[in-house]
């Protein structure tokens, strides 16, 4: 369990993380989502005691990172795969890490085996590909068999095989009851990996919700309706308070309805003797949801600009 409360980090006049509060629960993969420069890495560094918060605090199982006795046994982190000396072998790298938290030497071989680096264990880490470096970093994170795991952009630059491996690893770790926080700016990846989301933009919390809720709420849950009498149906639904537009898609002519449920549409059609050929709720993609909600919070927006204004009707509502 990770609990951040009123976490703030300022660098001079720049506010990197602004009064951020969220909770990461055990037993599920929580995606930490935000555009580049939103403050994800800074937040993770504050969780791990590397950066000193300007205000607020973050607790791991009720304690600050610095108060943990053998921290690697409680928290495993992969912040940067390149945090290994290029001229030191993978085995030596893990050996000093293990020694620092009084973990048995046999554990080094176990994690090397787990990440599939046993055959190159005595090669220097500097000669590793990005995928291998990533595996070495993960071996380091898993060394102390920790209950809490943090991964910062773990799939960046990996090939599809590596991405799949990391995704399954994270879900496996969560299934074992561990707390897994994984940051990414890749929304599609988070849609596949994470069941909960903490979404930030410009250092502020935008949403904390399950992935499904986030998408539903953000996409406005439109419903696709096809009917031979769509003109009549459109009038009836609008009278009931729905908003109706023609589906801009390539398929056969259809209506996109928002503001009423699928049940209400079906009932209305039946009551008026109108046949329906299709009635399907459409889930928006995570990308759409993300762009809609964080659109104003991109730090380095391209093009010239609309002034800074927050989304008026934040559909999920920042929880704190």
């Amino acid at each position: 369990m990770i609990e951040a409360s009123d976490l703030t980090k300022r660098y001079g006049p720049t506010v990197a993380v602004d009064d951020l509060s969220f909770v990461v629960k055990p037993g599920r993969v929580t995606g930490f989502l935000g555009p580049n420069g939103a403050g994800k890495s800074t937040t993770m560094r504050m969780i791990l005691g590397l950066d000193r918060p300007t205000g607020g605090q973050v607790l791991i199982d009720g304690r600050r990172y610095g108060e943990l006795e053998h921290p690697l046994r409680t928290v495993g982190a992969l912040l940067d795969a390149r945090w290994a000396h290029p001229n030191r072998s993978a085995r030596s790298h893990l050996r000093w890490l293990a020694r620092s938290n009084q973990l048995p030497r046999s554990r080094v071989d176990e994690v090397l085996d787990l990440v599939g680096l046993s055959s190159v264990a005595d090669k220097r880490a500097g000669g590793f590909s990005l995928g291998m470096s990533q595996r070495l970093g993960i071996a380091g994170a898993l060394l102390g068999d920790p209950q809490v795991l943090l991964f910062d952009e773990p799939v960046n630059g990996l090939d599809p095989e590596g991405i799949l491996w990391i995704r399954q690893l994270m879900q496996g770790l969560a299934a074992e009851g561990r707390t897994v926080l994984v940051s990414s700016h890749l929304l599609s990846e988070m849609a596949l990996t994470a069941s909960d989301l903490v979404v930030i933009g410009r250092g502020r919390l935008i949403a904390q919700a399950s992935t499904a809720e986030f998408v539903d709420a953000a996409a406005g849950q439109s419903i696709l309706v096809r009917s031979p009498r769509s003109d009549r149906l459109s009038v009836l639904l609008t009278a009931n308070g729905a908003s109706v537009v023609a589906d801009p898609g390539d398929g056969p002519p259809a209506l996109l309805v928002t503001g009423v449920t699928a049940e209400q549409i079906g009932d209305t059609a039946a009551a008026n003797g109108i046949a329906l050929h299709e009635l399907s709720p459409r889930r928006g993609s995570l990308e759409e949801a993300f762009m809609q909600i964080t659109g104003d919070d991109v730090e380095y927006a391209s093009g010239s600009g609309n002034g800074r204004h927050r989304n008026e009707n934040n559909p999920v509502g920042a929880t704190s």
């Binding site: 560094r45 791990l48 005691g49 590397l50 950066d51 000193r52 990172y65 610095g66 943990l68 921290p71 690697l72 928290v75 982190a77 912040l79 940067d80 390149r82 945090w83 290994a84 000396h85 290029p86 001229n87 030191r88 072998s89 030596s92 050996r95 000093w96 890490l97 020694r99 620092s100 938290n101 009084q102 380091g140």
Partner: protein, 243 residues
């Protein structure tokens, strides 16, 4: 104890500390051999002439010591270290202890090896260690190397960059401390309080001199105090700033 073991593993599992140590030993002993081989009747030879390469060896080991911490910043392993040992002071003191003790032992080895080399090449010259000053000149190198390593680590922790740390460590003793004595009137007085001048005097002073405000052991104590002060400032800064 485990933090000391960690730093020992780190220091011995890359090649550059071995190279630096080999280079330092070769340089010090090589210079002693060269001097002993070339010295003839016109150039007097004594214990001090076997030790003339010591300052160079100390420089090389100071570079090694500074790199032991700056490469950690360069490659991000310092963050991995602070994740494993959140007390930064504890982690950095362990590193300083291991590197300083190794450097001290290298200094001791370099000094005795070059003394032995001198005696071997010029068996006719009496190089016996008889006085306290003779012993201090040879065995004392272990102590000056040790505190020089602490000084170098302190600088390394403060500046975090290899190039900057090495520049400071070379310019300070070789240039700065030599130029100060050229300042009219006060230059000589300031010189007494320059750390590497004091370290050199610890090794080379034969007896207390009235113009110098400290004896040989006072000189070492002063050098040690400056080195430890630099380290403490480094530790305090490392504790406060973001890793």
């Amino acid at each position: 104890m485990s933090t000391l073991a960690v730093e020992r593993i780190k220091l011995t599992s890359t090649r550059s500390p071995w190279w630096c140590t080999g280079l330092a030993l070769t340089a010090v002993v090589g210079i002693a051999a060269l001097y002993a081989g070339l010295a003839d009747g016109d150039v007097p030879m004594d214990v001090s002439s076997t030790q003339i390469g010591n300052a160079l060896g100390m420089m090389i080991m100071m570079v090694m010591a500074a790199l032991a911490v700056t490469t950690e910043y360069r490659f991000g392993t310092i963050r991995a270290t602070f994740l494993a040992v959140p007390s930064r002071t504890r982690a950095l003191v362990a590193k300083t202890t291991v590197v300083a003790v190794v450097t001290g032992l290298v200094g001791l080895a370099a000094a005795f090896l070059s003394w032995g080399t001198g005696a071997l090449i010029r068996p006719s010259v009496d190089l016996g260690l008889r006085t306290a000053a003779d012993w201090r000149m040879v065995a004392g190198a272990g102590l000056t190397y040790l505190f020089a390593a602490i000084f170098a680590l302190g600088i390394g922790i403060l500046v975090r960059q290899s190039a900057a740390a090495v520049s400071i460590l070379l310019v300070w003793p070789l240039l700065l401390e030599q130029l100060v004595q050229l300042i009219p009137n006060v230059g000589r007085d300031i010189q007494d309080w320059l750390p590497f001048t004091a370290a050199n005097r610890f090794l080379t002073m034969t007896e207390s001199v009235p113009e110098i405000p400290y004896g040989p052991w006072g000189a070492l104590a002063y050098f040690a105090a400056v080195s430890l002060a630099v380290l403490v400032v480094g530790l305090l800064v490392a504790q406060r700033r973001d890793a």
